[in-house]
Symmetry: C2
Subunit: 279 residues, 2 copies
């Protein structure tokens, strides 16, 4: 059976509409703020779906106590599907004394779950911190389908080299060309971006990344593409971790902004639910 946590309640309706057997759970808070959960359906195997956007720590703790309740109730095989994994960007020590926070989260989840599925984790190498089987779910199908007609014979670009594999995955689904932006320091204070080895003029462009927060890079890239004579400019990301005002700023700079529903936002128009329910 599948169990929906608080952080994934926005996905419930679509999951149900696809005919999935949803287990019943009670989830509420005590007056002092402690989370209370109770499982009301029983069996041997369960898949918990829990996204961990803000309040991320509450959603993580909820996943733990849901895991405890399921184990206590006799479930012996637990899978956890995390559409958005909090702390995934804290994936390395950049200054001495820092934690690898995503490691702490994955180790804690590993106390209760045998398998972990994360949608487009920021750094796939971090999945090794999970003690059991850990799988990165690609959003490429969902993003490609959403933009197929709008993009036409266009191209797919990653905003930096690190996101190149993401652009490639979407481009391959669409049978289109892809590349990435490179950054070149042209003065002590100025960095120039340019798309590497690809013709932009007159072509629609889809820029793809995993997370949009301030949107600054996306806006810079979009403006550059316009200057270079691109056709329509679309921006897609898996996770809309938008800073205040970012949705408006990016939307004004491009022809369309769309993210997936790993986090519910006003522009979460792309659904990863079909990829989750077929696991």
């Amino acid at each position: 059976m599948m169990v929906i946590g608080s952080g994934a309640s926005h996905l419930r309706e679509e999951i149900e509409s696809l005919g999935v057997d949803l287990g019943k759970v009670e989830i509420r808070k005590f007056p002092d703020g402690e989370k209370y959960v109770r499982v009301l359906s029983f069996g041997e195997e369960a898949t918990v779906v829990q996204s961990t956007y803000k309040p991320q720590d509450e959603n993580i703790l909820e996943a733990l106590i849901l895991g405890d309740a399921l184990r206590e109730s006799g479930f012996d095989r637990l899978r956890l599907v995390v559409p958005y994994l909090a702390y995934s960007r804290q994936d390395r020590v950049t200054k001495e004394g820092e934690p690898v926070s995503v490691r702490a989260v994955m180790r804690a989840l590993g106390l209760y779950y045998d398998e972990l599925y994360v949608v487009d984790v920021h750094n796939p190498k971090t999945l090794r911190f999970f003690p059991g089987k850990a799988v990165n779910l690609s959003p490429a199908r969902a993003i490609a389908e959403y933009f197929r007609e709008k993009l036409g014979e266009g191209i797919v670009l990653a905003p930096d080299k690190g996101a190149r594999e993401r652009a490639k995955a979407v481009a391959e689904k669409l049978g289109l060309e892809f590349s990435h932006f490179e950054k070149k320091r042209i003065s002590p204070t100025e960095v120039q971006m340019r798309p590497v080895d690809i013709e932009v003029e007159g072509r629609n462009v889809l820029i793809v990344d995993d997370i949009i927060s301030t949107g600054g890079t996306m806006i810079k890239a979009a403006n550059l593409l316009r200057d270079m004579g691109a056709g329509k400019v679309f921006v897609a990301a898996t996770h809309g971790v938008f800073a205040e005002g970012a949705i408006e700023r990016v939307s004004e700079a491009v022809d369309e902004l769309a993210v997936t529903n790993t986090i519910p936002t006003p522009v979460s128009k792309i659904s990863i639910v079909p990829d989750i329910v077929k696991l």
Copy 2:
């Protein structure tokens, strides 16, 4: 060295005043709500002090990533002191399908810490869920010292049989008599409380419990003691997890209400810091 987490920042000044070597840490939040920590002092052994009152899940996660940062920085022996342990009342399954939430918390903390010290944990048996050494710290010294003069030749009472050991520990520090209240159902809707086998008339009374939330039981007990001709009635608890308005309601019903500083409240007049720094 000792490291103070956000949930114990109210204890910092007193800990410093007792001459403890405090390690430097940076703790803040990213704009998206994720906690960031960085350790700025290094060594081999550290004691993290972190209370986990509201926002409890944030304070628990912070303890985990502090543990990760300390391990990553080369510390090889980590102790965790938790003045107030969240989820400690979710210590058993009362309805099928419930978790033992405190087990999930202790297991997660056990991923990073070798030793755990909890002040007056609700159910000491739950300490076995922690994989390493786990110790219950008694607040009896602190409570006894605070009320020694006020109470004089009085008595100490527990509000129910479950809290009897707490009353006993305080009474023994003071060389006073102790007992507990028993509840007797006198009609389908009415329960009568009465102190068991102890003379109350004309004597000051200190009622001691581990947690006060609504304060309903304490108020009932205090009113009963007045009816029975008791002298002054004092109420003490370790953890002031007060519901809205509870401090005012209890304060009006008794001569004095005082709790320890495991959670900062307006009546946290009793300090457990001396018991922590001598660990």
